[in-house]
C-alpha cells in the first residue's frame, strides 16, 4: 500500500536482476562450451564455431516451428518429413520445371504452410489429437516425398547459386574474418520473426492463451479454431524454410531424410524450457536448446569419444542440463 513501484524488490530469496537471470539460462550451454574448450584446443576455433552454428541451423529452424505448436499445448511430429517434402517441392519447381529460384523458395514455404493448415484443420475441426494428426501427416508426407521425387534425390545443379542460400556468406563478404554462413543468419532471422510474432501479435497472444486454457479462450468468444489452424500453418511455413535450408546445404532434395528429426527438434524445445503441456515457452530458450544439442555432438566428436559412448554421454548431459535449469529456477 505504501510503495507500488518496488514490489519486485521485496522477494524473500536473494534478488537477481532480470538480465543476469536471462544470462543464467545460458549457463548449461556456457558450461559445455567452457568444458570442451578446455578439453580440446580445436574446439574454440572460428571454423568449428561456424560448423556448430551451421549444424544448428536446420534443427534450430525446425525447433522454432515446434515451439509455436508446443506452446499451444499441441505437438508436431511431422516437422522432419514435412521439411523433406518442402525440399522436394522446391526440387520439382526448380529442377523438374526449371522455374526461377525465388519461386522454388516460395513454393517450399507455401507447401509447408499448406501442410500445417491441413494438420491444424484436422486438429481443430475434427478434434483429432495433435499427436495422431501430425503422426498421420508425418507418414503421408514421407510417402508423398518418395512418390513425387520418384524415390531418388533431386539435385539443384541447374540452379546455380541455390547452395549459396545456406552455404554462402553475405556476412563474410562484408567482414571476411567471420564468414557466418547465410543458413545461420536465416536461423537468426526466423528466430527474430517468431519471437516478434509470439510477443507482439494477436496470433502470438492466442498461441499462449490456447496452451494455457483453451476452454477459457473459447468462453471468451475467441474463434479458437481459426487461430489454432493459423499457428499450425505458420509453423508449417517455418518448416518450409528449413526445407529450403537443408536442400541448399545438400544441393539436393533427399526424399528419404527427415524421419527422426522431429525428436531432435522437440528435444531442443524442451531442453530450452518450454513445457510440453503448453502455455509457456520462448524462442530464445529453444535456440539455446538446439545449440546445446549441436555443441554436445560436435564437442564429443572433436574429443574423439567412441560413438557408443557419445550416445551415453549425450543422454546424461541432456538430463543434467535440464536438471540444472530446474534448480536455477527453483532458487530464483
Amino acid at each position: 500500500m505504501t510503495d507500488t513501484a518496488a514490489p519486485a524488490a521485496q522477494k524473500s530469496g536473494p534478488r537477481i536482476s532480470g538480465a543476469f537471470h536471462r544470462l543464467l539460462a545460458f549457463s548449461g550451454l556456457i558450461a559445455l562450451v567452457v568444458a570442451f574448450s578446455l578439453a580440446s584446443p580445436n574446439f574454440m576455433q572460428t571454423q568449428n564455431i561456424l560448423a556448430i552454428l551451421q549444424a544448428t541451423s536446420v534443427n534450430g529452424v525446425l525447433a522454432i516451428a515446434a515451439t509455436l505448436v508446443i506452446i499451444t499445448g499441441g505437438i508436431d511430429l511431422s516437422v522432419g518429413t514435412l521439411m523433406t517434402f518442402c525440399a522436394v517441392i522446391a526440387g520439382v519447381i526448380l529442377t523438374y520445371l526449371g522455374l526461377p529460384m525465388p519461386l522454388g523458395i516460395i513454393g517450399a514455404i507455401l507447401a509447408g504452410a499448406a501442410s500445417g493448415l491441413i494438420s491444424g484443420t484436422v486438429i481443430a475441426k475434427l478434434k483429432v489429437p495433435p499427436f495422431i494428426a501430425t503422426l498421420g501427416m508425418m507418414l503421408i508426407l514421407k510417402g508423398l516425398s518418395l512418390v513425387i521425387s520418384g524415390t531418388r534425390p533431386i539435385y539443384f545443379n541447374d540452379t546455380p547459386g541455390f547452395n549459396q542460400i545456406a552455404l554462402g556468406s553475405v556476412v563474410g563478404q562484408i567482414i571476411p574474418a567471420v564468414p557466418v554462413p547465410n543458413g545461420v543468419m536465416i536461423l537468426f532471422a526466423v528466430a527474430l520473426i517468431a519471437s516478434f510474432i509470439l510477443g507482439k501479435t494477436a496470433l502470438g497472444r492466442y498461441t499462449f492463451a490456447l496452451g494455457s486454457n483453451e476452454e477459457a479462450v473459447r468462453l471468451s468468444g475467441v474463434n479458437v479454431d481459426r487461430w489454432k489452424i493459423g499457428v499450425y500453418a505458420l509453423a508449417g511455413g517455418i518448416v518450409g524454410v528449413a526445407g529450403v535450408l537443408i536442400a541448399s546445404r545438400l544441393n539436393s532434395a533427399q526424399p528419404a531424410l527427415g524421419q527422426g528429426y522431429e525428436l531432435d527438434a522437440i528435444a531442443a524445445v524442451v531442453i530450452g524450457g518450454t513445457s510440453l503441456s503448453g502455455g509457456r515457452g520462448t524462442v530464445l530458450g529453444t535456440l539455446i536448446g538446439a545449440l546445446i544439442i549441436s555443441v554436445l555432438a560436435n564437442g564429443l566428436r572433436i574429443l574423439s569419444v567412441a560413438q557408443e559412448w557419445q550416445t551415453v554421454v549425450t543422454g546424461c548431459i541432456i538430463i543434467l542440463a535440464v536438471y540444472a535449469d530446474i534448480l536455477r529456477r527453483r532458487t530464483l
Partner: protein, 521 residues
Amino acid sequence: MAGHSAPASPGDAPAPLVEMTDIDKSFPGVRALSKARFELRPGEVHALMGENGAGKSTLMKILSGVYTRDAGSVLLDGQPVEITSPREAQALGVGIIHQELALMRDLTAAQNIFIGREPRRFGILDEGQLNRDAAAIFASMNLKLEPTVKVETLTIAKQQMVEIAKALSYRSRVLIMDEPTAALNDAEIAELFTIINRLKAEGVGVVYISHKMDEIKRISDRVTIMRDGEYVGTVPAADTPIETIISMMVGRTLSNEALVIPNTTDAPVALEVKGLNRGREIRDVSFAVKKGEILGFAGLMGAGRTEVARAIFGADRRESGEIWVHGKRVGIASPKDAVEAGIGYLSEDRKHFGLATGLDVRNNIALASLDRFTGLGGVLDEASMQREAVGYIKQLAIKTPGDTQEARLLSGGNQQKVVIAKWLLRDCDILIFDEPTRGIDVGAKSEIYKLLNALAAEGKAIIVISSELPEVLRLSHRIAVMCEGRLTGMLPGGASQEEIMRLATQRQSSVAESATQRRTA
C-alpha cells in the same frame, strides 16, 4: 444505491430484456433442466437461487452460448434468438462470470481481460494501451492490482476480481454473475456491490447467483428459485423473508439451531504450532487447538491463513517452526507426513488442489484412504469403497447420478462436498478446513455445520478458515485473527465482529517496517 434505482414493483415493469421459457437440458445420465423459466428486466438485479445442482449454472450457460438447449425458447428484447457460442452471446450483449474460474493462467491480468479484443496498432499488439485500459478498469473497481502480474501467481480471490474486471470490460447489457463472491471477503464484496449498483443505474440487467443469503437481500430486486432443474417461483427480494426463499429452495424449512459449545477447556491439546515462519507470508505464528475444539481463523484476503495451513500440512516449505501433535513433536516435510500424523487439509482451491477431476466420485472420496481399502497384493476392495462412498453421498446429499460419475461433471457445490467427504472418510484427528462451505447451498451448509460440531464432539480438533465472519462466529469455540502473516489476536467464541475487524486490520505501523512492507489489497 444511486438516485434513479430501477423500479421493482410489478405494475410499471419495463419490457423484459431476457425471457427464457420452458428450457430443457439433459446430460448423459442427468436431467439438468426441465421446463425452466427465467426473466430479466433492464436495470434490475435478479437473483437466481437453488440448491447445489439445481441447474442455475446450466441455465445461465445456455443463455451465454456455452450449452445449447434441448427445448424451450430464449427471447432477447422480445426477439427470439439462437445463441450457439460465447461469441454470439457477446455480440448480443450477454456477458458472464463463470462459477469455475476460466482464466489463462500463463497470461497476465490485463491480457486475460482483453483476450480476443486486444488493442492493436498497425496490426501489432499495443501492450501499453492494454495495460492502461486494464489499470483503468481496476481503478474503477477500486482494486489494487498490477495489470502485468501473471494470473497464476494470484490468489483465488484476486483471480476472481480479474474475472469480474473482464466481464465488466465487455460493457454487456446482460451480465451474469455465477457465484462471484464465493472467494471474496467482505470489503471486496462491498466493492462489487457498488459496481453492481452502478451498472444497474446504467440500465444493465444483472443475474446474480449466490448461496450467501445476506447478499441476496442486500443487492437483488427479485429472486427466482429453482429446484431439481425446475422453476419454482419468482418473488420480490425486499418483502420475502429469507426463510420463505430457503423453503422454496429445499422444499422444507430448516432449523437454524445455535452452536452448542461443549466445555473443552480442560481437554488435552491436539495440535500445537510454535514459531512458524516463512518470509513475509508467515511471521512467527504460534497457537494450539484442543481436542474437541473448533478454532476459527479470520482475516482479510491475503492475511496468510492459507499459507499457515499449507505450511502446517507440509504442502509448502517452512523456514522455521515446530509442530506438536498430541504432545509429541512431529517432523512434517510433506502432506504424507501430515496425514500420517493425523492431520487432514481441505484446500480452498478445489479445482487445482482438491479434486482429481478425471476420477469418479467414489475414487475421489477414497483418494486419501486408499491404503485402507488395499488388501493382499495391492488389490482394492471395491465393494467397501463403494459402500463408504455411497454412505457419504447420502450423508452430505451429494447430487450425482451415482458414485461412478466423473467428478468433473458434478455441479460446483457438489464437487466441494466430494472433497469434504474425502477428509471425513480419512478420519483424521486434526482437520483443517480452508473455506469449507465455498459454493455450498444453505441447506448443505447447515448440514456441514452440524457435521463439524459432531466431529468436534467426537474429540477431533478442527481448524476452520473462513472469509465469512458469520460462519466463523457461528462455528468457533475460539477465533484466531490474522493480519499480514501475523497472528494479531485470539478471541473467545462470542467475540464481536468489530473486535475481529480491529485485529484483522491491525497492521504493523512502525516507519521502519512500512518501508519494506509488501503491498496488500
